[in-house]
């Protein structure tokens, strides 16, 4: 293998599993260290730089970082990254003075954002400080999009939501509420805006067209519309017996909301078995904690109407097997009638663009969705951009935020006459953490404790009021315990081959057999010849330059490194150093960071 180029920022970035998995590349280990130091405000601001809504995401994020966490591979349970983010948000001081501000003198460019959800708000967040005049059109009377209407208050208190949105809107964003854009053509024809961003989400709940649907309509609710109606106070009760159809995260919000609106017997009906559930495991747990029953392998057959009113539903009880093509097919075993007063449908969301004319240069593709460039977020009409769920269907908030950042870069380029395909480069800083012979400025002592459990408001109390936040958040003691579980994967083992005397000390001391000194070879072969076979192909192998004495190479399997720093502590020549890697992420209006070849070399030559 060729020697690894660790001066390419993406090599060490990939080692920081959580940051790599996060769509917005939040610097997780650093914000956890700041929390450990009690520097909550700095931790909050570090979060905000990349994910814009730390308080909101600290409660609602889909947490792609957690399954990626190295702790999962070393032990079992990931660091409670998301909950720690909430700690930073909960305990921060007033950050208003630290927030970006918009200049008084504008740059003369006007940008329209359609929809006031997380994607549009991120675009506004990035463009306002650059002097753009940003105008948001929102169909509802309040901002937030799905963050407001789809996430119940017992998961995301309204004050948390509004505070973080206000940080952006207070920069002077012009917002038109109750203003549904009915025609994009009309807007573009007016020629008022230099660029238009579409962040209208995936606002249409899927229908379940089976017999009885029309007749029982009064007691059948479309999940996301129903949640929105609850939020705005149009709905405040539900029947005692509720069936929630579907088993995604929206279904979890629907069943838990039902429980708070007077439902007593609530069943979530799943067509398949648990391994196929779309809901995040922790949302399933939360629902089951609230005594909600989840029935598997029940496929809806029909709604049953008696005396003109919904009486229940008939389900086929099925089993699933793989057919010869490897696809799952169901076989009906039996059927069952389950009585119900109300049914909530939470089986997915669709996009809907009836307001975009098909003759204005915006090409539509599969599923009647606009064709959007994956890197630039531009449609086939120059100056029209799409992001968030509106781009490629339902994702989650953190993806919408990253779309917003990227679209803002494109919009800025477009307005300044730079090709949108020219993306500013990532950079990195590498800073040694050495404090003394065997001392580092991070907590390198591996702490084998289990993941800290979340505490909840007592069940009866929390079910009595829609607005009581169910999770209590970590207290200081729990926080102090959980931060120590982070392995500091951003503190990289950085190797300088020409200093190595091949004494084997690092190889001998490594607790997880990461290191091997051996003869070089092809990757497949090398992966089998290490201290332990490197079978996780998602994880990189580091290969050094030839070592001075024997011309062998130092190989590191990044997979299980716990970043304890013992290799560097036992190294007599400081060929190994523990260096903190700081990914420099470009945002709209920023120059490219220094080219990788020049980026910070910190170790001795």
């Amino acid at each position: 293998m060729r020697p690894t180029n660790t001066r390419d920022p993406q090599y060490y970035h990939r080692v920081v599993d959580c940051q790599w998995a996060c769509p917005a590349h939040t610097n997780v280990p650093e914000y956890i260290r700041l929390i450990a130091d009690g520097r909550y405000t700095e931790s909050y601001m570090l979060n905000r730089k990349s994910n814009v809504f730390p308080g909101i995401l600290g409660r609602t994020c889909d947490r792609p970082c957690e399954p990626a966490c190295r702790r999962v591979r070393v032990e079992d349970e990931p660091v409670a990254i998301c909950r720690l983010k909430r700690v930073a948000a909960d305990l921060r001081d007033d950050v208003r003075d630290l927030l970006p501000t918009a200049p008084a003198v504008k740059n003369g460019k006007r940008v329209a954002l359609i929809g006031a959800g997380p994607a549009s708000l991120t675009v506004a967040n990035d463009l306002m400080p650059l002097g753009y005049e940003v105008v948001i059109y929102e169909a509802l009377s309040k901002p937030g999009g799905l963050m407001r209407t789809n996430i119940p208050s017992f998961r995301l208190p309204v004050n948390v939501l509004e505070e973080e949105m206000d940080y952006i809107l207070d920069m002077g964003v012009e917002v038109h509420y109750n203003h549904r854009v009915e025609s994009l053509k009309a807007m573009l024809d007016q020629d008022e805006f230099d660029a238009v961003f579409i962040g209208t989400g995936a606002p249409k709940g899927k229908e379940l067209n089976i017999p009885g649907r029309q007749e029982a309509d009064a007691n059948i609710h479309i999940g996301i519309e129903w949640l929105e109606a609850i939020h705005f106070g149009h709905i405040d009760s539900i029947g005692e017996r509720v069936l929630v159809i579907g088993v995604g995260n929206t279904a979890m919000d629907c069943c838990r909301s039902s429980k708070r609106l007077g439902g007593t017997d609530i069943k979530v009906m799943a067509r398949k078995d648990r391994p196929y559930f779309k809901a995040s495991p922790w949302e399933l747990e939360d629902a089951e904690d609230e005594q909600i029953e989840i029935l598997v392998n029940h496929s809806p057959q029909k709604f049953v109407v008696e005396d003109g009113k919904l009486a229940g539903m008939v389900f086929d009880i099925v089993e699933w097997n793989e057919n010869e093509k490897g696809r799952l097919v169901s076989t009906k075993l039996d059927e069952v009638f389950i009585p119900a007063d109300d049914v909530v449908l939470a089986i997915g969301q669709d996009n809907a663009f009836p307001w975009i004319e098909r003759d204005i240069g915006i090409e539509f593709g599969e599923w009647d969705m606009p064709v959007v460039d994956r890197a630039t977020f531009m449609t086939t009409r120059e100056g029209v951009f799409v992001g968030g769920d509106a781009a490629w269907g339902p994702e989650n908030i953190i993806w919408a935020v990253e779309h917003g950042h990227q679209a803002a870069i494109s919009i800025h380029n477009y307005c300044q006459g730079t090709p949108v395909s020219e993306r500013p480069a990532y950079g990195m800083n590498l800073i040694s953490t050495k404090m003394g012979i065997h001392e580092w400025r991070y907590s390198n002592d591996y702490d084998p404790v289990d993941r800290t459990e979340m505490r909840y408001v007592e069940l009866e109390k929390r079910l009595s009021d829609m607005k009581i936040e169910a999770e209590l958040g970590f207290d200081l003691k729990e926080t102090a315990r959980e931060v120590e579980r982070c392995l500091n994967c951003d503190v990289q083992t950085d190797f300088t081959a020409n200093l190595c005397i091949e004494c084997d000390a690092c190889v001998d001391v490594c607790p997880v057999l990461c290191l091997t000194i051996t003869h070089n070879g092809e990757e497949d072969d090398l992966r089998q010849r290490l201290m332990a076979p490197a079978e996780n192909l998602d994880q990189a192998l580091y290969v050094s330059e030839d070592l001075p004495q024997t011309k062998r190479v130092m190989v590191k399997d990044e997979d299980l490194c716990v970043h304890c720093g013992l290799c560097a502590e036992r190294c007599p020549t400081a060929a190994w150093d523990m260096v903190e890697f700081d990914l420099l992420t470009p945002y709209a209006g920023q120059e490219s960071w220094t080219s990788p070849a020049l980026a910070g070399s910190t170790t001795s030559p």
Binding site: V74, P448, E502, C503, D504, Q549, L560, C564
Partner: protein
């Protein structure tokens, strides 16, 4: 010295031996030796060898004297028995322990100061008695613990860290062991585990005194340009005379060798040591020829390594003494010490 303990996290694919233990179960406490010390690599090689031999930790006895080398038994097999003796007196303790319980596995760790200066006499007599043990001499040519004076194994002309050349002739422990009649004599290098581990395993299985001289650089006082026991010098001047494979009992012999180049020696317990000669003329069972050969290599400034001499048919200390097979500790007190009437009976022979 590291302030943290080694993380308990382990590689999930770490190998397990016949006892279900992993190499990490054979570790000791964190080393307090200098970072990069050759002795730590020898420790790692010992852990690997003991792991691969499926040794039950409580069947192992670790012995040492004084010195950097003699600290190392703390760093492997924390569940084994251990004894730190007075400087240079470890061989006596080992002989005594072995006399009392011949069933345990003995490993003595010593250094060039402990074995070749203050304990030279002890070392020689352990060889004469052929005490059944593995004796590892971690040889770095300096007194590291007292800040780097030349030891008895320092070569003429090699310099101290301050640049002063040594003028007294060295004691070569391999030559000494051969001339005293040692039955298992090897030399290896801490930086070459591929060679060291099989030698240590063979040494554990040898019936008698298995002597392994390990060049183990002192990274603080003797790893500089003028040193003949540095990592760089050793790598450059190592001359591997014999390649050693250790084939445990009941394992299939997979490696095949060209006719006449390899010799298989069956050890006391039935395991097999395969010795592959790098030089055709070398005979690892002819003591005189080995001495001649090593002398020749040494005059070229090269360091012979490998399992240099092996004689598996000899008797160990218990053979000379004609002791019973049962370890003496397990004999009932009456048998071991039959009392004054038995003594009186015995004395009648001479009165």
């Amino acid at each position: 010295m590291s302030y943290i303990t080694k993380p308990v996290a382990r590689h999930p694919k770490m190998p397990r031996n016949a006892l279900g233990l992993t190499p990490r179960d054979y570790e000791g406490t964190m080393s307090t030796l200098c970072a990069g010390c050759g002795h730590d690599s020898v420790t790692a090689a010992l852990i690997q060898a003991i792991f691969e031999l499926d040794v039950e930790p409580h069947r192992l006895v670790k012995l040492s004297g004084i010195g950097c080398s003699s600290k190392t038994p703390t760093y492997f097999v924390r569940d084994a028995h251990g004894f730190n003796s007075v400087h240079g007196r470890m061989p006596s303790i080992a002989a005594g322990a072995n006399a009392a319980n011949r069933d345990l596995l003995y490993v003595g760790i010593s250094g060039d100061g402990d074995s070749l200066s203050i304990g030279l006499g002890q070392f020689c007599h352990a060889i004469r008695r052929n005490v059944n043990m593995l004796y590892v001499l971690e040889n770095n040519g300096v007194y590291g613990l007292t800040k780097g004076q030349f030891s008895a194994s320092a070569d003429i002309g090699s310099t101290s860290k301050a640049g002063v050349a040594n003028r007294q002739g060295p004691i070569d422990p391999v030559n000494l062991a051969l001339s005293l009649g040692a039955t298992f004599v090897a030399r290896s290098f801490s930086g070459d585990k591929a060679q060291l581990v099989p030698i240590l395993k063979a040494g554990f299985r040898h019936n008698g005194f298995a002597f392994v001289d390990v060049i183990s650089p002192c990274v603080t006082f003797n790893d500089h340009k003028g040193s003949t026991k540095s990592y760089a010098h050793t790598r450059e001047h190592m001359h591997e005379v014999i390649e050693t494979d250790f084939v445990p009992l009941r394992a299939e012999i997979k490696t095949s060798y060209a006719e006449g180049t390899a010799r298989a020696v069956t050890m006391h317990d039935g395991s097999v040591v395969k010795l592959r000669k790098v030089d055709d003329t070398y005979d690892p069972t002819d003591r005189g020829a080995v001495l001649d050969y090593l002398g020749e290599v040494a005059t070229r400034g090269e360091i012979s390594t490998g399992l240099l001499y092996l004689e598996e048919s000899g008797e160990d200390m218990h053979g000379f003494e004609n002791t019973v097979d049962t370890p003496l500790v397990e004999l009932p007190h009456e048998t071991l010490c039959p009392g004054s009437s038995a003594l009186a009976e015995l004395q009648k022979e001479w009165v």
